[in-house]
């Protein structure tokens, strides 16, 4: 246990002690030196001990990337293609594909066709997880693309981290995809926190509403929206006056509705999917409960609008993370030769332009930009580096994409729309809504 050096020091100091007393001073200095040496030696040994334990982590795989071949780049997309959120998945995918088809028609990126494999997960997290594992192991794909839904995406996060595969363009504003920061997650749209934060600000500041209730889906998505709302309200020293929830995939909104009605809320923040939310609004309207209904972007504007066509006297506001995809909008991003409206009409002529598809379209734009920037020698790491190099990429008047090594969210704008004549259109003046709310119905 005693180091050899110190044993030698011991010998030398004892030997020196046999000298005449005159030499004692020297001895003391010598022993102090050996003392210092001994301490240093012990510390060195400790360092060595500690050094032995440093983990030998396996290095990231280099060279050939899965899902990339000379001809094509394979991407995996797990989203709801059927079921109660089927519209969201379908439109997201079609929006994206309309641009990717366009790019592929022009010869792809760096000579490679961008191919998207899509599996339906029906907005079911286990299925999404199974799909993702399949993408990673079986297919395998270069990157994951256009996932839809908070609980589904959140479920696969550990697998993404483990497989170190990039995931770009998630149709969800969940905070879990943003914090803690992950290099492999590339968000395009603004977060639910940003949406609810901006919404609550308008509700309180512009409309003077204080009694705000929350109706949410009882899962990661709903909780995320709830938290965002609560945080936003807290800034005004407010709290939700009531909270109602429903289970994912059901339409059991009555209990939540009753709770919220009894709270006499002036506004209801709704974090759910279009079917339960539409049911909630219809039931409320039927019962004469007509507060301001605010919904986050995920609800799906067009499907909701369709389901509320025959409802009157209600004020429905929805935040969007992309501008309304209006056919008349002259923006090149919509009606230009490679705009969303133009390409959707070309590849999916039966579909109407919508917010969800537009977001998918923008995701595809970012993806292609990233692939282009990554160069011909494509790897996952290079791809992520390329995405991070995108700074202020202006796609249209209101759409400017910006990333950095510490910011993996391309857009921050939140747009507010109001349901008018079966269609959501941008709110220009909040005073109108105020007067509308105050008008006797």
């Amino acid at each position: 246990m005693i180091p050899l050096q110190s044993y030698r020091g011991f010998l030398s100091s004892t030997a020196a002690n046999d000298c005449t007393p005159k030499d004692d001073r020297f001895v003391r200095i010598a022993s102090e030196q050996s003392f210092g040496r001994r301490v240093a030696l012990i510390l060195c040994l400790l360092c060595l001990l500690a050094g032995c334990q440093t983990s030998d982590e396996s290095e990231a795989p280099e060279g050939f990337s899965p899902g990339v071949s000379a001809q094509e780049i394979l991407l995996g997309s797990s989203l709801a293609l059927q079921g109660h959120a089927g519209f969201l998945g379908t439109q997201t995918l079609r929006g994206a594909l309309s641009y990717l088809n366009h790019i592929n028609a022009q010869g792809g990126v760096h000579g490679r066709i961008v191919k998207v494999i899509s599996y339906d997960d029906s907005y079911d997290p286990p299925m999404c997880l199974a799909n993702t594992q399949k993408f990673i192991i079986k297919d395998p794909v270069f990157a994951l693309f256009c996932y839809v839904g908070t609980p589904t995406t959140v479920k696969v996060l550990p697998m993404i981290e483990e497989a170190r595969i990039p995931l770009l363009g998630m149709f969800t504003g969940a905070n879990a995809l943003r914090e803690p920061f992950s290099r492999f997650l590339i968000n395009v749209r603004a977060s639910y926190y940003q949406e609810t934060g901006a919404a609550v600000q308008h509700l309180v500041d512009d409309l003077g509403l204080k009694k705000i209730a929350v109706f949410y889906q009882y899962d990661a998505y709903g909780f995320d929206g709830l938290t965002g709302t609560e945080l936003a309200l807290k800034r005004f020293n407010l709290a939700p006056v009531a909270g109602g929830s429903y289970n994912r995939g059901t339409l059991d909104v009555e209990e939540g509705l009753n709770k919220i009605i009894s709270s006499r809320a002036e506004a209801v923040v709704m974090i759910g999917t279009y079917d339960p939310c539409a049911k909630f609004i219809r039931l409320a309207n039927t019962q004469g409960f007509r507060p301001l209904f605010y919904l986050v972007s995920f609800v799906g504007a067009d499907e909701l609008a369709r389901r509320l066509e025959n409802q009157h006297g209600i004020t429905v506001v929805m935040s969007q993370v992309v501008p309304p995809p209006d056919r008349r909008d002259p923006s090149p991003l919509l009606t230009g030769p490679d705009g969303y409206v133009t390409l959707l009409e070309h590849y999916y002529p039966k579909d109407q332009p919508n917010f969800v598809g537009f977001e998918g379209f923008i995701n595809a734009r970012v993806l292609v930009e990233g692939l282009r920037r990554a160069g011909a020698d494509l790897t996952r790491e290079r791809f992520i580096d390329a995405i991070e190099s995108i700074r202020d990429l202006s796609l249209g008047p209101d759409v400017t994409i910006a990333f950095s090594a510490s910011d993996h969210q391309g857009l921050d704008r939140v747009h507010f729309t109001q349901l008018e004549n079966g269609q959501f259109s941008l709110i220009r003046d909040w005073a109108e809504i105020k007067s509308q709310l105050n008008a006797p119905r």
Binding site: M1, I2, F10, S13, T14, N17, D18, P21, D24, S31, F35, R38, V39, I42, L43, L46, L49, A50, C52, Q53, S55, S58, D124, P125, P126, M127, L129, A130, N131, Q133, I136, I137, K155, P158, M159, E162, A163, I165
Partner: protein, 672 residues
């Protein structure tokens, strides 16, 4: 061999310094304790940790086994995956669980949490025997090792599948290593801290001891002015600030506190106010080391004070020695060599100090010195004073002079020695001699009538003879040759007699030499008889001599002894005359002088039958200027001078007297 080694080690340990002893002992104990703790910790913590982790793996596997049976039967692969994925990636668990997979009855993998192709080797690597509830085996997955914990999934009594939970061996090893490192680090830190503390402590304890040793070393070399710079010094100052140091006469409360009040002279009682808060003696509060340092410091300070006092006292006595008005010698007790002499001795004796030192003292004083010193020696250690009056000493060049000697035994430089002071009394002796001479002249005067009468007798006889011869020549008568011869020889005899008287007279009147000589005491008695016998006859006083011819000589001066006896017989005559005046019918007085040898003493007795001496004055009889006679005639010095002379020769004079009957003086001298 090993015993020898142990003994050698023990010996070596004994030889090392106290500091290292403390240091190494504590370090050794700490290291042993640390080693024991490390082993115990490894045994308890590491084993328990591994067991605990394994138990967690089993728990995970059991949970999955319970919950997955439904999914397996339904072949619901996504839910199964979700389940095992949840279990595998649950927060911190993801580091521990490296994989989970579920296989069916046939061992086909239904679901797994890997993000790569399932390795075929893993599938059947760990199979649970039919009757076992679990099986644990170390397996390899890729380049990693894992503990594969397999638990069967049962539906009813049949096994429908197996759950495999792979625990990351690397992670477990890391945890163990972390635990070990933390623990060892902690122990090492403790050891290092104790190492430093011990080092400091050992130094703290031993440094004062080391310093004390150094100071003691210095002190033992005689350097008492060594700096007493202990670390704890808060007081102290210049030594001269201590009243007792500055003035050795001042008593120190601390140093002299235990002594009797008279032990140290000076200002006992009146304590200097500075001393109320002594800045030199310390008694600080502190541990044993500090107290030892204090005691040591106090001891050194006491030594310094003592030394200071001793030096001052030595200086004082040295100055007494050096500037004494009389010569002082220090003489070897055995050889009588001079060891030391003061400047006055150099001055008086005329020898340089170098010449004096080592010279036998007997060279300065050949006479009587031996006996004198021997009498001192016989006193032994007693510090009695021995006086030797009127010793004859010789200056450089053999010039004699008289001194009074006072000597006593002493100790000089640790050896018994004689300290001797000599007072030059030559002048006094000369004065004495003059006095004696004067006294002699006076006696001569007194004797002149008798002497004249004495001289007249031979002159008359010569006159008668010469007249007879002249008459015979005038008458032309023939003188028969026989008659002529008779007359002439008678005249010659008378001339001789006159010459003898004159010679005696001359010798009496001569001044004595300084040097004594061997004298037959009968001779001066005879001379005095010659001078005074006829004269005394006129006064009807009969002077009888009864002299022992065989007595030894004594060391004296002949004519001084004549004076002694003359004075005595003169006094005797006066006493007889006085008695005769009172008793006129008394026919004749007698003075008797007798000599004899008694042992090695020569005794002379002068006895008269005069008036005697009254008891009242008997004690004063030898005092100068004391006289019973008419003051006009007598100075009262006679007996005083007699006494002085006898004492000068080391003799003794005794008086026995009876009033009205007579007086006897008995003189005794040491035989030469």
């Amino acid at each position: 061999m090993s015993l020898h080694l142990i003994r050698q080690t023990v010996q070596r340990f004994r030889d090392i310094s106290l500091k290292n002893k403390i240091f190494f002992s504590i370090i050794a104990v700490i290291l042993i304790i640390s080693a024991v703790i490390a082993l115990l910790a490894r045994w308890i913590l590491v084993d328990n940790l591994i067991d605990e982790l394994e138990l967690r793996g089993i728990a995970i596997a059991r949970t999955i086994a319970e919950r997955s049976s439904g999914y397996i039967l339904d072949m619901n692969q996504p839910e199964l995956l979700s389940l095992i994925f949840e279990e595998a990636k649950l927060k911190e668990r993801q580091h521990l669980v490296s994989y989970i997979f579920v296989s069916d009855r046939e061992g086909q993998v239904l679901s797994h949490t890997l993000t790569r192709k399932f390795p075929e080797t893993l599938r059947l690597a760990n199979q649970v025997p039919p009757d076992q509830a679990k099986s644990v085996r170390l397996t390899r997955i890729g380049d990693q090792m894992a503990y594969d914990i397999a638990t069967p999934i049962n539906q009813g009594i049949y096994r429908i599948g197996t759950v495999h939970v792979g625990l990351n061996k690397n992670h477990i090893d890391q945890l163990v290593a972390k635990l070990r490192t933390t623990f060892l680090g902690f122990l090492s830190a403790v050891v290092v801290i104790i190492f430093i503390i011990t080092h400091r402590l050992a130094k703290y304890i031993t440094l004062p001891v080391f310093k004390l040793t150094q100071i003691a070393e210095e002190v033992s070399k005689g350097n008492f002015d060594v700096k007493l710079d202990f670390e704890q010094v808060s007081k102290g100052g210049q030594p001269t600030e201590c009243p007792a140091f500055a003035n050795p006469e001042v008593a120190c409360r601390h140093l002299d506190g235990n002594l009797a009040p008279e032990a140290h002279g000076g200002g006992q009682g009146a304590i200097d106010p500075v001393c109320m808060d002594c800045r030199f003696y310390r008694s600080q509060k502190g541990d044993e080391v500090a107290q030892l340092a204090d005691a040591f410091y106090n001891m050194i300070w006491s030594i310094r004070l003592y030394r200071r006092r001793l030096r001052e006292s030595e200086k004082k006595y040295r100055s007494l020695f050096d500037s004494g008005p009389d010569p002082i010698f220090v003489i070897n007790h055995q050889s009588f060599d001079i060891i030391d002499a003061n400047p006055r001795a150099v001055e008086v004796y005329g020898f340089s100090r170098e010449e004096l030192i080592g010279k036998p003292f007997t060279e300065l004083a050949p006479e009587h010195t031996h006996e004198y010193f021997q009498s001192l020696q016989s006193q032994g250690e007693a510090h009695g004073l021995v006086t030797y009056p009127k010793a004859l000493h010789y200056k450089k060049g053999q010039k004699p002079f008289y001194v009074n000697l006072h000597a006593s035994n002493t100790t000089y430089k640790g050896q018994p020695a004689i300290v001797l002071a000599s007072t030059d009394i030559t002048e006094m002796v000369e004065k004495d001699a003059q006095l004696i001479q004067a006294n002699k002249m006076k006696s001569l005067g007194e004797m002149s009538a008798g002497i004249a009468h004495e001289l007249n007798q031979p002159l008359n006889a010569i006159k008668m003879g010469s007249d007879f011869l002249a008459m015979m020549v005038e008458q032309q008568r023939a003188i028969p040759p026989s008659d002529l011869h008779q007359v002439v020889s008678e005249m010659s005899t008378q001339v001789d007699r006159a010459a003898e008287i004159i010679n005696t007279l001359r010798s009496f009147g001569r001044k004595a030499e300084l040097v004594t000589e061997r004298v037959d005491i009968n001779k001066p008695i005879q001379a005095v008889y010659t001078l005074v016998a006829r004269q005394f006859e006129l006064d009807n006083i009969h002077l009888e001599l009864d002299l022992d011819r065989a007595i030894h000589p004594v060391m004296a001066h002949d004519n001084r002894l004549q004076q002694v006896f003359f004075n005595l017989v003169a006094n005797a005559r006066d006493a007889i005359i006085e008695k005769n005046q009172r008793l006129p019918d008394r026919p004749v007085g007698t003075i008797r002088i007798r000599t004899y040898q008694k042992g090695n003493r020569v005794v002379a007795v002068v006895q008269d039958d005069g008036i005697g001496i009254r008891d009242a004055v008997r004690d004063k009889i030898f005092e100068p200027f004391f006289s019973t006679k008419e003051s006009s005639i007598d100075m009262g010095l006679g007996l005083a001078i007699t006494y002085g002379i006898v004492k000068d020769y080391g003799g003794d004079i005794q008086l026995a007297s009876q009033e009205g009957i007579g007086t006897t003086f008995t003189l005794s001298f040491a035989a030469a």
